[in-house]
């Protein structure tokens, strides 16, 4: 195990503050200047079950959690059972001694201590924070400050409880782990927060959503921030309403975005196609969870790739891109919002639960987010679907004395319905010109991430799996070339030419290797092996590095 990495895992029932304890722990690590990656594993229920939060931290950039943990805190028996193999060498188990007995750990009477206060079990999370603080030698004063900031309900009780637990834990394992300080404190955000902030930086005006994990937290975050940024944020009656409302809003000149997961996006495809023919600039955030159908709501997968690439009936330009890191999610969301307006076509930011709901320390240069004006009408007669060299017609918004008609039927340049043979093919050609224009534009942009290595094999991956791969390579001291296309439609084949006949390995989270198929079909890539995982869990860097070693 990399000696500079420290991993903290806390597990218990939903409603005991597991996730909150995880995020407070992450803040403690970031406060001492370290980098953090936090992954929350939770079930689709409100109370009970088993949830855990795992946070890995290092003085250098870290792009995945590790399942082998140095400190594991279990609130209940089920957590002890579940995580008995997740202990790193020299790792420490702390358990709730009121819930069970265990030979190989340190028991702390969490229940009986918490019962002294009205909030009872709700305080377990605070207890976990106190145990962590004691084991890493975090000063009590600093801990109290953090508890004040992070647990505003019942501050006094929380502090008394935390101090008691801290003292108990300190006797047995005080200062067991000494964490090297990092260089500076960085903000910690989730992927969905990065997406939301990127959209705001990119000029978002309206957001429509219908609750669906793992995209719901975009709706929640933006609803919370609506007033600050002058946004309209609407929870509509269905995903069908969501996309059609968004299209209506773009007609008025508003930058609109919608967010959902696979099932909700299935409902949106009718409207997605409408955006194709009306040339409505719509951005869809599609955060994947395991399918088909309801699938596994609170876990991760990359099996909606093929669906996203072909979503919506008929021929039209779809832009699909997937952020590889939380930080990139900020830039790419702004860039995609910019692109759908530049090219007046629908786009999808494809991501996964693993990026949406994991948290990371980030360094973002806010000003680097893209935001530009679309092609606008200047003078003369106005034709919404004016044929131009690049296929992009100038836009005009109401109120306007010139009539602006967007049409879901095939139409003439003015926007009036047509069934005329010549006009039908003419309008197809007009829209298809945008494909060439887009590819020419993207050739000047950063569309693929390539890290050059020394090993003769290359690794191809995309989306949040990129983070798992980088961490696995670092852990295993492996050095192949890593290639991660950010754009998936159009796939930047011009960047992939050189790898075509080399030794290529693909790593993805789809049981039918959808990404591998895309690379073979579109880029003509020879693929030697595909490493895939489709159990709803993100790759663990240690396990993944072993698998990579086997095929390199």
């Amino acid at each position: 195990m990399d000696s500079d990495i420290f991993t903290f895992l806390v597990g218990g029932k939903a409603g005991e503050g597991v996730k909150k304890a995880g995020s407070v722990a992450a803040h403690i690590f970031s406060r001492i200047g370290r980098h953090v990656f936090q992954m929350d594993d939770y079930m689709s229920l409100i109370r009970g079950g088993h949830n855990f939060s795992v946070i890995s931290t290092a003085p250098r950039w870290i792009s995945s959690h590790y399942m082998k943990s140095n400190l594991v805190i279990n609130f209940d028996k089920r957590s002890c059972e579940t995580h008995k193999n997740d202990i790193a060498e020299n790792g420490l188990i702390v358990f709730n001694s009121d819930a069970q007995e265990l030979d190989n750990g340190i028991g702390i009477p969490l229940t009986s201590e918490a019962e002294k206060y009205p909030m009872k079990k709700l305080m377990f999370g605070v207890g976990a924070v106190a145990i962590l603080a004691a084991t890493i030698g975090f000063e009590k004063e600093d801990m109290n400050q953090i508890i004040k900031d992070e647990y505003p309900r019942g501050i006094e009780d929380n502090m008394t409880f935390a101090n008691k637990i801290y003292d108990i834990a300190y006797l047995d394992c005080g200062k067991k782990f000494i964490l090297e300080k990092g260089d500076k404190k960085r903000p910690i955000i989730t992927g969905n927060e990065a997406i939301s902030l990127g959209a705001i930086a990119g000029g978002l005006n309206v957001y429509y959503g219908y609750p669906m994990t793992p995209a719901s937290s975009i709706l929640h975050f933006l609803a919370q921030q609506a007033e600050n940024f002058g946004l309209a944020v609407v929870h509509a009656e269905s995903e069908i309403a969501v996309i059609n409302m968004a299209i209506g809003s773009t007609f008025t000149g508003a930058r609109a975005m919608v967010g959902t997961s696979g099932g909700g996006f299935a409902l949106m495809t009718e409207g997605f196609s409408l955006a194709g023919i009306t040339e409505a600039p719509i951005l869809v955030i599609l955060s994947q969870r395991p399918g088909p159908a309801t699938g596994v709501p609170t876990y991760t997968e990359q099996a909606d790739l093929a669906f996203a690439l072909t979503a919506g009936h008929g021929d039209f330009l779809r832009i699909v891109a997937s952020p590889t890191t939380v930080r990139e999610a900020y830039y790419l969301t702004a860039e995609m919002l910019d692109l759908v307006w530049k090219f007046q076509t629908p786009g999808i930011l494809l991501t996964e639960k693993h990026l949406s709901e994991s948290s990371m320390t980030v360094e973002i240069e806010l000003e680097k987010s893209k935001s530009s004006e679309p092609k606008l009408y200047k003078d003369g007669d106005y034709k919404r679907y004016l044929d131009t060299d690049d296929g992009i017609s100038p836009m005009l918004f109401p109120p306007s004395k010139k009539v602006i008609k967007w049409n879901s039927y095939e139409h003439d340049e003015f926007g009036i319905t047509t069934e005329n043979a010549e006009k039908i093919s003419f309008m197809h050609d007009k829209r298809n010109k945008k494909i060439k224009t887009l590819i020419e534009y993207l050739k000047g942009q950063n569309t693929v991430k390539i890290i050059r290595g020394e090993n003769p094999s290359n690794i191809f991956t995309y989306g949040s799996t990129y983070m798992s791969v980088l961490e696995a390579l670092r852990y295993g001291s492996l050095n192949p070339t890593t290639v991660a296309p950010i754009y998936l439609s159009p796939l930047p084949t011009w960047e992939l030419e050189e790898f075509k006949n080399q030794d290529n390995i693909v790593i993805e989270q789809s049981s039918t290797s959808q990404f591998t198929t895309l690379l073979k079909e579109k880029a003509g890539l020879k693929v030697k092996n595909t490493i895939k995982q489709y159990d709803g869990r993100p790759f663990d860097p240690i396990e993944l590095s072993k698998k990579i070693k086997e095929v390199l």
Partner: protein, 279 residues
Amino acid sequence: MESLKTDAEITWCPGCGNFGIFTAIRNAILILEQKGIKRENIIMTAGIGCHAKIFDYLNLSGIYSLHGREIATASGFKISNPDLKILVFSGDGSGLGEGLAHTLFAAKRNMDITMILHNNGVYALTTGQFSPLTQEGWKGPSTPKGSFEIPFNPISLMIEAGATFIARGFAGDIKHLTDIIVQGVEHEGFSFIEVLQPAVPYHNWAEYRKQVEYLEKEPKTYFEAIRAAKEKHKFTLGTFYRTTKPVYHKELYGDHNPVLKKLSREKRLEIIKGILKIK
């Protein structure tokens, strides 16, 4: 002043009730202009069906939407720019079949838009299948033995759902129809106007004219309105319900306007810095 008609070829059947609605809406727009509403502030949308062809003929800006989605499109217009006056053309199949949920929710939200429901009691454009408003016993291509579903009562349905202006007009009484469209557009809130509209391949005008009658007086309370909607037959014209309730966009963001009062990029980035606590 530009014509309210485009150059598009009109493809409704000769004698179609849609012509009456087309005339009434143009009259209504001229009256609204006289009352100070600018034409460029009136934006329209339509579903798909015979009713929706009006989109190509009426020289107003808007989106020719999908079958059943016109109310969602219209809500999108209003939410991002509440200064616009929104006209939604809908049909009994589009607005109460495929798009029923959107219609009910727009009423529930008191979305400030005007829905004109062209009720021809049939899926005319797709060759005469029964619609949500077709009387039992209709022998259409999808119900060869006669339909057996009881139709909706659109007026009581809309009262119950929360619409705040509810009226029924007739394509054969253009003056009355013009008048209720003007009132519907002027009303702040969700206005639902059902228009009885014969589709000539399936109905004849004489049948309609024989049955049409007018409400003696406008119901004053919610329960009077429900009672009128339930007791009067479905050829009864007039305003069934009118009330005042907060409109959706004002509840959402007060006097804001998301497209006209956009926050500058500098300001946005400054606030984001605050959220991330970065200097």
